[in-house]
């Protein structure tokens, strides 16, 4: 195992009767940003807190930078952590906050001052050194929190929904800025988020968690293009779901068929997941087109969401760039081409959540 990496094996956490995390194993490679992506309650923050030593695992082992840390104290682990709600020390100035990790390790005053100066420069907050946290905006506070986490030169950086409490624009800016800082420092980072866009944009590696387990781990491309489970297909990026039966390796729905069900047995129920941008609309029938009726159009300025009903009554949504949106009227008929369908056997009893997520 490489030196700066984080590895967890069979990590489990029980809170009383409730299992928050179950048999989670992964490696976050050295020098990269790895995202743990999942809805709230999926156990992703609990995994991070166990790595930080803030929660004790019920079972499993943890290595940080090649060293087994399962039983080490938080103090010994030397991790830098950034929290969703900043967790700045409200009675200390920005400079005192950043210096905290050095002060508790009894570094010399001169060394503290030099390091604080460097870090405030890095996060572009030098003029704010003597301010208190309540005099800063949310984005500035989170930058202070990052500087504070980096000050004692941690082995790894843990980010727990770092942009969760910020509004959309600040979130975008900070995301790009974090990316830049990471390029500069190259510190192994583990980012917990429920925002799939954030995970796909920042991370090199994504671990999708659901109900305490790892659903899929892989590169961002693999997660998006080759989802391993229906949950990943619906949670990472929007997806339409078409329900049908497997006939000769295809999904049959009404009179229509879709490719891609070779792995399922004949006659079984099947769910086909199709990205809205893989739903193509045209006025003429190409190969394999399906007739559809336009129910509703939401124009978002640069794309339109076109809600369609297929001949058997199922609904799909197409995302069409406005410059390619031709001759579509509400109530009119169009030809619909459904591409890149990912077909799965339905998961047990269909739960309301995944249905809801599917139609985004």
């Amino acid at each position: 195992m490489s030196n700066g990496a984080i590895e967890v094996r069979d990590l489990t956490k029980q809170f009383g009767d409730f299992t928050a995390v179950k048999d989670v194993s992964f490696v976050a490679p050295e020098g990269a940003i790895t995202a743990i992506l999942g809805p709230s309650g999926s156990g992703k923050s609990t995994v991070l807190r166990m790595i930080a030593g803030l929660e004790r695992p019920s079972a499993g082992r943890i290595w940080i930078a090649g060293e087994e840390s399962t039983y080490s104290s938080t103090q010994e682990r030397r991790v830098g952590m950034v929290f969703q709600h900043y967790a700045l020390f409200r009675h200390m100035t920005v400079a005192q906050n950043v210096a905290f990790g050095l002060a508790v390790r009894k570094e010399s005053k001169a060394k503290q001052r030099a390091r604080v100066d460097d870090l405030l420069h890095l996060v572009q907050l030098t003029p704010f050194a003597t301010r208190y946290p309540d005099q800063l905006s949310g984005g500035q506070r989170q930058r202070v929190a990052l500087a504070r986490a980096l000050a004692p030169a941690p082995k790894v950086l843990l980010l727990d929904e770092p942009f969760g409490a910020l509004d959309a624009r600040v979130r975008h800016d900070l995301r790009r800025w974090l990316d830049e800082i990471h390029r500069e420092l190259g510190i192994t980072s583990l980012l917990v988020t429920h925002d799939q866009e954030e995970a796909l944009e920042l991370a090199h590696q994504v671990i999708v968690m659901h109900e305490g387990r790892v659903e899929q781990a892989g590169s961002t491309q693999a997660i998006y293009n080759e989802p391993a489970t229906p949950f990943v297909a619906s949670f990472v990026g929007a997806a339409n779901v078409i329900r049908g039966l497997v006939i000769q390796g295809r999904v049959q729905f009404g009179e229509q068929q879709l490719e891609g069900a070779m792995h399922l047995s004949e006659g079984a129920a099947a769910h086909a997941y199709i990205r809205p941008h893989d739903v193509l609309i045209s006025s003429t029938n190409g190969a394999g087109g399906v007739a559809g009726t336009v129910e509703r159009i939401n124009d978002l300025g640069w794309i339109s969401k076109v809600h369609l009903t297929l001949p058997d009554g199922q609904e799909v949504t197409a995302h069409v760039p406005n410059d390619r949106l031709v001759e579509v009227d509400v109530g009119g008929s169009v030809w619909v081409d459904l591409r890149n369908a990912k077909v799965f056997a339905p998961e047990g009893p269909q739960n309301a959540l995944s249905d809801e997520l599917a139609i985004a």
Partner: protein
């Protein structure tokens, strides 16, 4: 339309009248019950002659009474502060069976008459009490001595620090403490550098309340101390004796001195409270 506007206007007038009436009632009540006695004491001292102040504070039994009050109050407040913070911490941060019972029990001293507290102490430590043989064998005098006075005063002061600190601890949560630990702080460093500064105004407020209560305590102390003149007589007990022995002027002087200390503490409490509220608003 016209009539309804007129009706509304008279409605407004009536409610304004009702509000003024309530304010007057509240002011009258406070003036009668709180301000009048203070004015009364000050007036009594002045009427008794300013010279009385000098002679009173020259009396050895008065000096000793104040000294004893200070000794008892300081010890009781220190104990109640240390343990109050620990109990508040446990109540705010830990989940355990019996937590809600503990939460209720710590407020017991507010509900129990101090006289009963004194009586309980006598039953435990007095002649024939549970702990008396153990203590007597070691020559430790508890009842009719300072230890029992500190004990009952501490008991009465228990709720003040806990009631002020526990809600603050609950409200600030554990985020900052978690952050401190990931930054390499030990448990002790986390408490001193992060937790304590966050609870300081609530804590000072609680300490001020406990101090005021400790200085003014008489019922429980009267029972356990025996009020032996020049030995176990506190300032409040001196006032009681002065009134009984028809030495009202010196009693008034001591009472005024106690009241002055209380007013000073009240001022401190207001400052602490204001600081704490400001913290809550901005934090």
């Amino acid at each position: 339309m016209v009539t309804s506007t007129a009706a509304m206007r008279s409605e407004v007038r009536r409610s304004r009248l009702a509000r003024s009436g309530l304010i007057a009632l509240a002011l009258g009540y406070v003036a009668l019950l709180l301000v009048a006695p203070v004015v009364g004491i000050v007036w009594s001292v002045i009427r008794g002659g300013i010279a009385e102040i000098g002679t009173t504070f020259a009396r050895s039994d008065v000096i000793h009474a104040f000294y004893l009050t200070a000794i008892v109050a300081v010890q009781a407040v220190v104990i109640t502060t240390v343990f109050g913070v620990i109990v508040a911490w446990v109540l705010a941060r830990d989940r355990f069976a019996g937590r809600s019972i503990m939460n209720a029990v710590v407020e017991l001293p507010l509900a129990v008459s101090p006289v009963i507290v004194g009586l309980m102490a006598v039953l435990l430590f007095g002649r024939g009490g549970w702990f008396e043989p153990f203590l007597a064998a070691r020559g430790i005098q508890v009842i009719f001595a300072v230890p029992s006075m500190v004990l009952v005063t501490t008991f009465i002061c228990i709720p003040f620090v806990i009631r002020e600190v526990a809600p603050v601890l609950r409200e600030i949560g554990t985020n900052e403490e978690d952050a401190a630990r990931t930054l390499g702080a030990s448990g002790f460093q986390t408490f001193v550098r992060v937790t304590l500064p966050n609870i300081r105004w609530g804590l000072l407020y609680g300490i001020a309340l406990a101090t005021a209560r400790a200085l003014g305590e008489i019922g429980a102390v009267l029972i356990v101390s025996g009020a032996i003149q020049g030995q176990t007589e506190t300032a409040t007990l001196y006032v009681l004796r002065a009134l009984e022995e028809r030495q009202e002027p010196s009693g008034f002087v001591v009472a005024l001195a106690l009241a002055a200390v209380s007013v000073a503490i009240l001022g401190a409490i207001e400052i602490f409270k204001r600081n704490r509220e400001r913290k809550e608003k901005t934090g």
